[in-house]
């Protein structure tokens, strides 16, 4: 049980996928304009990542490893991710159309987002058991949501700030992202040299 908590805290804070692995930067910069859509995107990604962690572990353990097909890892994981994203897209379109609209192109882009594939590949590398892997995926998703929400909160404030002309838009956003990543470095070492 202790291990589970360790993985959860590690993926959310210490090894935050956005701030320490620099995965999922595209939606991190793209959807973080408004807090409401940032949270929506975060939870959509969290769902996809948790499910991905679950399904890819099963595929890896019961199909790829027994038949020595590890070289198919990337292809089969992408297949899983693409299907899951398609499913989430249909689900959101039906149930929460407003969120579906707000996310726009970034929803299908979760498919090609490195954060999901990165999670699946990292997970298979670390020899987690099923529960650990799912927690790993969930934590990564929550960490991503956390990063998005922090960023969206700051960017909503920045709207009212007097930003120098050349830094408006992309420039100041990247600087904020860098500072946030630096801030998250403060967590490293929290879990025994993490």
């Amino acid at each position: 049980m202790n291990n589970i908590w360790l993985i959860l805290i590690a993926t959310i804070l210490v090894n935050n996928f956005v701030f320490s692995y620099f995965l999922g930067i595209c939606p991190f910069l793209g959807v973080s304009g408004k807090a409401s859509s940032a949270i929506g995107m975060g939870f959509a990604a969290t769902f996809v990542m948790t499910m991905t962690a679950f399904v890819t572990w099963l595929i890896n353990r019961y199909i790829l490893i027994p038949y020595n097909l590890e070289f198919l890892e990337t292809v089969s994981f992408i297949l899983v991710i693409a299907s899951l994203v398609q499913f989430v897209e249909m689900f959101l379109k039906k149930v929460i159309p407003s969120l579906y609209k707000a996310l726009g192109i970034f929803l299908p882009l979760i498919t090609t987002n490195c954060i999901v594939l990165g999670l699946a590949l990292l997970g298979s590398m670390r020899n987690y058991n099923l529960l650990e892997n799912v927690v790993f995926g969930f934590g990564a998703g929550i960490g991503f949501t956390l990063a998005l929400t922090i960023m969206a909160g700051i960017r909503e404030e920045i709207e009212f700030a007097d930003v120098p002309e050349p830094l408006k838009g992309g420039g100041i956003t990247l600087i904020i992202a860098g500072l946030l990543a630096l801030a998250f470095m403060g967590f490293s070492g929290m879990l025994g040299g993490g």
Binding site: L72, V80, S83, Q86, M90, P97
Partner: protein, 290 residues
């Protein structure tokens, strides 16, 4: 060999499994959509240029059907598409505005306009413009790096060897992307029938302007004086056409006295477009000539 077969079988199997799951989900989660949206989307040009103010043709089609947005905003589609959409929506008697095309309002070719520096920066008008206003002495003139050429999704504007871009009026759809791309607001959308243009944006005093450009408007007011009352005016040392129909009517008289040939009749009475003298014999060259 066996590895190949096993790989094929497993990947095929996984794929098939997900396909079935998705198919079931699709049946369960299908959303009823107005069929007219798809129909209108197929009528729109599909260039996703954004001239209508929506992110793409699909978004615009949806806005037409669901929000009742006016359907005459598609510049590339023009009158033809508007008529077709009207048919789909069952609307009759739609009036369509005149077709507009882009016009480059500068004659500062490499021969005519002086440079004040050599620019070694990024090959883009925008970058040059922000680097102390670029290499041209004229702060209002065309920089000639072809940001507009790159912005055009219809291959309708090209760079010439004289350093000023040229619009292909047959291909131009009036989407306005080049207008936005130009950091100096030199390109304007003009009605296709407009005949007389002031091909200059220079707001400097005449005595200065004529020093660095052969075709600069020197604010002598001769055209304004000869144009019908109220159809033209001087604004910041630059002649502005307010009512092109009145000016076109008196075209010969208005342009005759211009000492720098910055006001010109480019479209003749048969509607044929002629190049300004500054661009005569210009050849089309690749965008980044410098």
């Amino acid at each position: 060999m066996s590895v190949t077969i096993i790989s094929l079988l497993t990947m095929g199997g996984i794929g098939l499994l997900f396909a079935i799951v998705l198919l079931l989900a699709y049946k369960k989660l299908a959303v009823e959509e107005d069929p007219r949206i798809k129909e209108i989307e197929s009528l729109l040009p599909g260039a996703n240029c954004g001239a209508c103010g929506y992110p793409g043709c699909a978004a615009y089609a949806e806005a037409i059907v669901l929000e009742g947005v006016p359907f005459d905003k598609c510049a590339p589609g023009g009158a033809e598409v508007v008529e077709k959409i009207a048919k789909v929506l069952g609307v009759e008697g739609v009036e369509v505005g005149e077709r507009k095309v882009a016009q480059v309002m500068c004659q500062g070719t490499d021969e005519a306009a002086l440079d004040r520096a050599i620019y070694h920066g990024i090959n883009s008008c925008r970058a040059a413009h922000f680097t102390l206003g670029g290499d041209k002495e004229c702060y209002w003139g065309c920089l000639g790096f072809g940001d507009c050429v790159l912005a055009c999704p219809f291959d309708a504007i090209h760079m010439t060897d004289k350093g000023i871009p040229l619009v292909d009026r047959d291909k131009c759809t009036g989407c306005g992307l080049c207008v936005e791309a130009c950091p100096r607001d030199i390109i304007e959308l003009v009605p296709i029938s407009q005949k007389v243009f002031v091909l200059c944006k220079n707001e400097d005093r005449g005595a200065n302007a004529r020093k660095y450009c052969d075709y600069a408007c020197i604010a002598c007011r001769l055209c304004v004086r000869n144009a019908p009352q109220g159809s033209m005016e001087m604004r910041n040392n630059l002649a502005i056409i307010l009512d092109h129909r009145q000016v076109d009517g008196e075209a010969e008289k208005v342009i005759a006295k211009c000492p720098t040939k910055s006001i010109l009749k480019l479209v003749d009475d048969d509607g044929e477009f002629h190049l300004p003298p500054s661009l005569e014999g210009a050849k089309i060259v690749p965008t980044l000539k410098r």
